[in-house]
Amino acid sequence: MILIIACMLLIVIGLYAVITKRNLIKIAIGFCMTEYGINLLFAFIGFKKNALAPIITKIDAPKMFVDPIPQALVLTSIVIGLGTTAVMLAMILRIYEKYKTFDINEIKKLKG
């Protein structure tokens, strides 16, 4: 239970960066951290004590495996997180080239 609370704390720290910080790069780091926390939470839900990784090495051995379904869902989610981060960084680079600053209060004042 304490481990699941640690995952929740990681998600909340990521949300703190998105809501309160004023630098664009810190906001992007907050998004990434929230995604890491969510994927870790799913991996913890599928854990089984004294079981092995779900890969068959001998054909007729007895099968004591952890739950493979949350792992299959998280595999997709990790790669989609990379795509989201890439698009955010492209937009941040374009905003810097136009306004020459990362501070969102300055960007709100200058009107093009």
């Binding site: 890969i55 068959i56 595999l75 790669v79």
Partner: protein
Amino acid sequence: MSGLSVIVKTVARIVAGFIFLYGGYIIVHGHLTPGGGFAGGVIVAASFILLVLAFGAAEIKEKTSYIVSSIFESLGGVMFLLVALLGLFSGVFFFTNVLPKGTPLKVLSAGIIPLCNIAIGIKVGAGLLSIFLALAASHYILKE
């Protein structure tokens, strides 16, 4: 972006081939060991990114232009779609496993799963190389 010193250039030329081979190994053995198409594809992209970082974007403008990597990415996507349509054209529903299953624990087994892994590996590798060239060296590469 400019390149690095002579020692880095010599070592990068040797090591990039081994990294590419390791990525191909993880893609092809995706149905026997952990890994699969996505992890192998990112490792293949990393070998090309190593060459771009060591030599500078101005010197290898012709070899890794983003048009060639866009062609490879589209080829990977079309190959994945064709493998999935193979199930539709041979009677049963879309995306079913129609190739022979073979003996377990060998490389040539498990129907269409190795083909899908190779297609996804090509697609992810070429896509990540395009994203890196756009973010780091867009002055040299993306001029029209």
